[in-house]
């Protein structure tokens, strides 16, 4: 397994990532690509990059992709999967994309139990637009739209996507992981693999929340960013499996005949 790390996955193009040094997107991209290779599903994969720093993901993933408008990835994914059930569909989303503008689309895709996989990058800010508050921004965290720190009374609380989504009966597999250490990266890969396998087996909606460093907007070095995830972020967003119904088999319809 460790050999793989040094070769480019088939599902990644030969392009240099434009992400900032120490950015979690690069790692997440690579892991998703490796999983696609290992599960041998590249031929059927259709991915959906978001509006966000990962907007150019189609330059990196060597799989079919269609870009969605900001937040609408899970709706687009629903359309693809329903129209073409053989495909393996993943929506790649940031925290603004998933938990702010696209919370309705994301929540309802999950609630319908769409047989898709969501890769959710939680970096506690809006990376692309220059570091504004995200729904997942920590209390007291300074961003360009919370210049004196996020204030719970005025700006609300960090949105805990895994906690909330795991309560929806439509959700089959949901895990929160992080890519701030080699061990975390291994775990993340396992989680992503399990999520895709859940979809391949037709078991329903899977979501992997990845706590991911954004050194640029956190104004920390890459190393300190990884530390901040351990010290601060994972306290608010504890890691772990929030839901695993993959053992229950395929869901059956309950509508009246």
């Amino acid at each position: 397994m460790s050999k793989k790390v040094f070769s480019r996955p088939r599902s990644l193009k030969e392009a240099v990532f434009h992400y900032c040094p120490g950015c979690g997107h690069s790692i997440a991209h690579r892991l998703v690509a490796e999983v696609i290779d290992e599960l041998d599903i590249r031929s059927r994969v259709i991915g959906i990059p978001p509006a966000g720093c990962a907007v150019l993901a189609y330059n990196y993933f060597d799989v079919d992709m269609i870009e969605a408008q900001h937040g609408r990835g899970p709706a687009t994914a629903t359309g693809i999967k329903r129209a073409r059930p053989d495909s393996i569909v993943f929506s790649y989303q940031g925290d603004g994309d998933l938990a702010a503008i696209g919370i309705a689309e994301s929540l309802h895709a999950a609630n319908r139990g769409e047989n898709i996989t969501v890769i959710f990058i939680n970096n506690a800010c809006y990376g692309m637009t220059g570091g504004q508050m995200a729904p997942t921004t920590m209390l007291q965290q300074r961003t360009t739209t919370t210049p004196s720190g996020r204030n719970n009374i005025l700006d609300g609380y960090p949105v805990k996507v895994s906690e909330i989504f795991s309560r929806l009966p439509g959700v089959t597999y949901l895990e929160r992981v992080t890519v701030n250490s080699p061990a975390g990266v291994n775990k993340t890969k396992k989680a992503i693999k399990k999520a895709f396998r859940c979809q391949i087996d037709g078991l329903g909606f899977s979501l992997i929340e990845i706590l991911s460093p954004c050194p640029t907007n956190w104004k920390l070095s890459p190393v300190d960013s990884c530390k901040w995830i351990d010290d601060v972020m994972s306290k608010e967003f504890p890691l772990g499996v929030f839901k695993d119904n993959t053992g229950a088999g395929k869901k059956t319809g309950e509508a009246a005949p």
Partner: protein, 353 residues
């Protein structure tokens, strides 16, 4: 009065706050983030000032609708894709006759497009944009000073006609800094009767857009239309630059008009009699003023950072009384004055003399 050097986005924010805007909701999008960030920093300093980073542009516009109904001066801002999302709410504001200022710092489109300055949202802005029979007053500022002045005017007109007003600028206007002087805003006149504050012990009132009876709805449509006709008759603004002796006149707004001025200067230096007609209100379009010019000028060149949208309004205004040419650079390209000068010179030579 003090001159200050500020970016267009910040100027809009400052002018709004000085005009008494006390409620801002917005969602980050480039190239207007500095406006949202300015409001985040300064709105809460103003007494009663509310800043909300909303979960989407749809939420933002509906938040300002609520605040406007309670009598607050309100603003939301975005850039092209986000303005598309706001259309539902803008249509509601027109229907419910709620004042408010909406800022569009345009970028390249359609779709996600890019974040470069462009003028592709002219149709959307001037035709209403959302569903139903309505119009939005639209300002097309071309300097940072105008951003300040027109933001203040936008609040006056929004209140006066109880209607949404849009500031339509582009990424370059939003990002650019120029010296600006903030004038004293006019005092606000807004009829208390239109404000919801709870019935207290008096009669209750409601604000609505839903009118199920067709005859009633028709009457409401005509009432709005009469208002739009008054706005058309009274509120058009435009600038003419060196048109006195012009044989060819460029029609351009916003950033495109700035570039046109640069081109005109070069051409004038070479003895070509070229002028500029710059609409400042894009709706209402200064139709009569442009038509009046066609008594003297027989050739117009419309220049836009789009594939040709205002062009339609120029055609409607000139009604065939003059020749109309078009030059467009869509997609976020900002052409240079010298490029434009070459294009104009070509057309100028065709004017004969």
């Amino acid at each position: 009065m003090n001159k200050v050097l500020m970016s267009g986005n910040n100027i809009i924010g400052e002018a709004a706050i000085r005009s008494g805007c006390r409620f801002y909701a917005g969602y980050p999008i480039t190239p207007q983030n500095e406006l949202t960030e300015y409001m985040a920093e300064h709105m809460r300093e103003a007494p009663g000032g509310v800043f909300i980073q909303s979960e989407s542009e749809i939420a933002a516009i509906h938040m300002i609708i609520g605040a406007s109904a309670t009598g607050a001066r309100v603003m939301t801002s975005s850039s092209s894709p986000g303005i598309s999302l706001k259309q539902e709410g803008i249509s509601s504001m027109a229907a419910c006759e709620l004042p408010g200022v909406i800022v569009n710092i345009m970028r390249g489109g359609p779709g996600l497009g890019n974040i470069r300055p462009a003028q592709g949202d002219y149709f959307q802005a001037t035709r209403g944009g959302g569903h139903g029979d309505y119009r939005t007053i639209v300002f097309g500022p071309a300097t940072c000073q105008e951003l300040a002045d027109l933001t203040m005017s936008a609040y006056d007109l929004a209140d006066k006609y109880r209607t949404p007003v849009m500031i339509l600028a582009d990424g370059m206007m939003g990002q650019m800094m120029e010296p600006v002087i903030f004038k004293k805003p006019k005092p606000r006149h807004y009829n208390e009767n239109f404000i919801l504050k709870g019935a207290g012990s008096g009669k209750s009132k409601f604000i609505r857009g839903l009118i199920l009876d067709a005859i009633d709805m028709e009457e409401h449509n005509w009432k709005l239309e009469r208002k739009y006709q008054v706005i058309k008759a009274r509120e058009t603004l435009h600038e003419e630059h060196r048109t006195e002796d012009a044989k060819l006149v460029i029609v351009a707004y916003g950033t495109a008009a700035r570039i046109a001025k640069g081109a005109i200067k070069r051409l004038r230096d070479n003895g070509m009699q070229v002028g500029l007609f710059r609409p400042i209100t894009l709706w209402p379009f200064p139709e009569a003023e442009l038509r009046a010019l066609s008594a003297r000028v027989k050739k117009f060149l419309v220049f836009e950072m789009s594939t040709g949208q205002m062009l339609d309004d120029v055609r409607l205004a000139l009604q065939g009384y003059a020749d109309i040419e078009f030059h467009g650079r869509p997609g976020g390209v900002v052409p240079t004055p010298s490029e434009l000068a070459n294009v104009i010179a070509r057309h100028y030579k065709e004017t004969g003399k």
